[in-house]
């Protein structure tokens, strides 16, 4: 070692790693089938980010893949630098060539690329993979031939292995954060940033760079004939003007930035945000919006109301004649806060009324309509006052959108609940969008109400009530807005599905048993009776889960009792009138049976599948649970 160091000059990108980091690096390199130096060049981040836990995870992954990671003693590792390997780094093969312009994505070398394109069907795979520098490591990969055969079959196992390798690449090679590197690698990373993703008829994706000769209009139905792809960048997506303060940092530094902390999926907060004046300001130029925003953020902070609120539910809303749930909000505020409203003059709203007057006005206008109001048992509160109905908020909103300036105060800003749509057309549109779902672009850009959110907030929340203008010929196909955008650079295709829309189990809503008539078709227990509880022990036919739960007879009506068992009405349902009296007990017992019989069930479910899948599930059981999972893990290991 020492001789080699003395004789050979140090490599360019030498970087001193600690012991555990070197272990991680070596393990990752061995799994990926890449030399350590190539990986070390691609990983400037590893010195800070990764720890010994990552090594344990890599060990688990190597166990799944059938690769052995030998741990070395510290003295050897400390004395050993990055070994001098051949300098041929096949990075240049990933550069976008002049002819094809197809973006090359690095994939691990253990997967043959010709089979990958069959298997994945999602990303076009490079022609030239990373070359394995050390042939000894390649021969030591026992899973190599097996993997290739799997991938060429195009089976499910191959897809999962592809996913696994992609995960390695994505977690350990982050193309967006590479800096201080050779110009070749920088050129490699530059290829990742721009580019258009297009989807053809069969769902295959093609990622092409910006100077592509593959025209998007060949894949998409409509082209207006204008060729403004290169001249005009897309102003709507990822633009600076997307954030009202001018840039993202300014957006976050101003008072509006606090909305970026909204928890994902918390719809009430988002609705609250949308019901405020934010949505109305999109027509202003940028410097005005920033001014307005500063003013507004100041007032917003002062507006935070610490009063006790309580919501009562009434049965109907007579003035809309719809069976929606109307809510009354009863607000008790200390009188010091009342009357100190400050509204920025740029909004064109003046507060002529104090809050007390408004409270009394709204209360008097809606008291008679709703009917009796339940008085709350107030202890130390001041007398309760009804401020508004939620429908009134919607009326205000519509009035304002029509141009008649409605007087809005602090009270109006606190409204969270949305009322029903008064306009029938709007209501129908919303219903259609809820059934067909809005596409990602329309969700992100807020077709109906444009509000400045950060993109990551808008992308991963359910906002189906936003309008996605459907194509009249194909309502569930590509929406009109996406067709218009087809001529420009496309960041996202017209997809209407999210991960949470997936259905992972059988959900046929028909009756589960043929002899159960539709009037029985709810799962509620049949009422209390004096019959004793009996234990019923069930065993699954296929998977052998055993669990017990209580079963009780329920009383039959006289008509049912009079039926003879031979008639079709007097079937098994009337002869054996048992039901499950306690659903919670039933669910609990089933949960415990799942945990207890996991080994048996996994054994029967995985028979006939590949050993790789066995290994993955063994690791999953080990990771999932300490006691039961270990039992399953050991049993699976004994089988293997």
């Amino acid at each position: 070692m020492n001789n080699r160091e003395a004789t050979s000059p140090a490599p360019k990108a030498t970087k001193q790693f600690s012991v555990c980091q070197y272990k991680i690096l070596k393990a990752a390199a061995q799994i990926l089938g890449v030399g350590v130096t190539t990986l070390a060049k691609l990983l400037p981040k590893i010195s800070d980010a990764y720890s010994l836990q990552d090594f344990e995870k890599l060990d688990a992954a190597a166990d799944i893949l059938g690769v052995s990671i030998g741990s070395e003693p510290e003295a050897v590792v400390a004395s050993r630098h990055t070994p001098p390997e051949k300098p041929e780094l096949p990075v240049q093969k990933f550069l976008p060539t002049n002819g094809s312009n197809v973006l090359h994505i690095p994939s691990s070398s253990i997967i043959s690329t010709s089979s990958l394109s069959k298997v994945s069907g999602a990303v076009q795979v490079p022609d030239a993979p990373l070359k394995v520098l050390d042939p000894a490591t390649r021969s030591s990969l026992s899973a190599n031939a097996e993997l290739n055969s799997l991938l060429e079959q195009g089976s499910f196992d191959g897809m999962c292995m592809y996913m696994l390798s992609c995960l390695f690449v994505l977690t350990y090679i982050d193309p967006f954060n590479i800096s201080e590197l050779d110009p070749t690698i920088e050129a490699l990373t530059n290829g990742f940033e721009p580019g258009t993703a297009t989807e053809d008829q069969w769902g295959n994706w093609q990622i092409t760079s910006k100077t592509s000769h593959l025209k998007p209009h060949e894949l998409h139905p409509v082209d207006n004939g204008r060729n403004d792809r290169e001249t005009a960048p897309d102003p709507d997506v990822f633009d600076v003007s997307f954030f009202p303060g001018g840039s993202e940092d300014a957006f976050l530094q101003s008072g509006w930035g606090k909305y970026s902390n909204i928890e994902l999926g918390n719809h009430n907060d988002m609705d609250l945000l949308m019901s405020t004046e934010m949505g109305q300001m999109s027509h202003l130029p940028s410097h005005e919006t920033s001014q307005v925003m500063d003013d507004f953020s100041n007032t917003w902070n002062a507006d935070v109301c610490s009063g006790n609120t309580e919501v009562l539910l009434a049965d109907s809303t007579p003035w809309l004649a719809q069976p929606n749930v109307a809510t009354q909000r009863i607000i008790n505020l200390p009188e010091e806060q009342i009357g100190h409203t400050h509204i920025p003059s740029t909004l064109g709203i003046t507060s002529s009324h104090t809050r007390d007057e408004q409270l009394s006005q709204t209360a008097s206008s809606h008291l008679a309509k709703v009917g009796d109001i339940i008085p709350l048992p107030s202890k130390e509160y001041a007398p309760m006052k009804i401020t508004y109905l939620p429908q009134q908020s919607f009326v205000n909103k519509i009035k304002k959108s029509q141009g008649t300036a409605s007087k809005r105060s602090k009270v109006a800003r606190q409204k969270k609940l949305k009322g029903p749509y008064l306009d029938d057309h709007l209501r129908q549109q919303t219903g259609n969008t809820r059934t067909n779902h809005a596409c990602i672009r329309c969700q992100a850009q807020k077709m109906r109400e444009s509000t400045p959110y950060p993109l990551h907030v808008t992308l991963f929340t359910n906002r189906d009530h936003l309008q996605c203008i459907p194509n009249p010929d194909d309502p569930t196909g590509i929406c009109l807005r996406c067709i218009k955008q087809a001529t420009k650079t496309i960041k996202a295709p017209c997809l209407r599905l999210m991960l949470s829309h997936c259905v992972l189990y059988r959900t046929n809503t028909t009756q589960a048993h043929l002899q159960v008539p539709p009037q029985y078709s709810n799962s509620d227990p049949k009422g209390a009776s004096n019959f004793p509880h009996q234990q019923l022990e069930l065993e699954n036919l296929k998977y052998g889960q055993v669990f017990t739960f209580a079963v009780q007879q329920y009383p039959l009506s006289e008509q049912e009792r009079s039926l003879s068992p031979l008639t079709p009405e007097g079937n098994l349902l009337t002869r054996r009138p048992y039901h499950i009296p306690n659903t919670h007990e039933f669910v609990d017992s089933y949960k415990s049976c799942i945990v207890a019989d996991a080994a048996k069930c996994a054994d029967r479910l995985l028979t006939g599948s590949n050993t790789l899948i066995w290994k993955i599930f063994a690791r999953a059981f080990k990771l999932a649970d300490a006691n039961d999972g270990l039992k399953v893990y050991s049993s699976i290991q004994s089988i293997l």
Binding site: A60, A61, F156, C160, M163, T171, W202, G203, L264, T435, H437, H456, F460, R496, L497, L499, S500, C502, V503, L504, Y505, R506, T507, A512, H513, V516, Y520, S521, N522, S523, Q535, L536, E537, L538, N540, L541, Y543, Q545, V546, V551, L572, L573, R576, H579, I580, F586, V587, Y590, K591, I594, A598, C601, L605, I616, R619, A620, L623, A624, D625, G629
Partner: protein, 134 residues
């Protein structure tokens, strides 16, 4: 996340096969009958209903929400758990399709089997728009 995914993986199989009563004598079902759960219709109906709506639906939502949360966060901390959870969910799909295939073969291309073949096609082509409404 991995734990709930595994539980779901096992529990989703519960609605795909029948059940045998182990103690039929206690309910007055003689040994001359085949001791399947079909003998007690309302209990079977209740069982499938409860398993679907009170157990599988919230568990499924939990698993998907977890995966989506981690995907949206963009962190690579728990990449092994993330991989395992997605693998289990995909394997669950494989088992669903396997079962559906066996069903179509058993029905010998009747009307019901045509519907299931369409479902499989839509599963494979990722066109699930009409099947998301439950």
């Amino acid at each position: 996340m991995v734990r709930s995914a595994l539980h779901f993986w096992i529990a989703a199989r519960s609605t795909e096969s029948g059940w045998i009563i182990r103690n039929p004598e206690s309910l007055g079902i003689g040994p001359e009958h085949k001791a399947k759960l079909d003998e007690i219709p309302y209990v079977e109906h209740q069982l499938t209903w409860i398993l679907r709506n009170d157990f599988l639906a919230p568990l499924c939502a939990e698993v998907l929400a977890d995966i989506q949360k981690i995907n949206a966060s963009g962190k690579a901390d728990d990449w092994l758990g993330q991989f395992l959870a997605t693998f289990i969910v995909l394997h669950n799909y494989e088992l669903l399709v396997k079962r559906q295939k066996a069903f179509t073969i058993s029905r010998k291309w009747t009307k019901a089997s045509e519907a299931s073949i369409k479902l499989i096609q839509k599963l494979l082509t990722n066109d699930l728009r009409h099947h998301t409404q439950t």
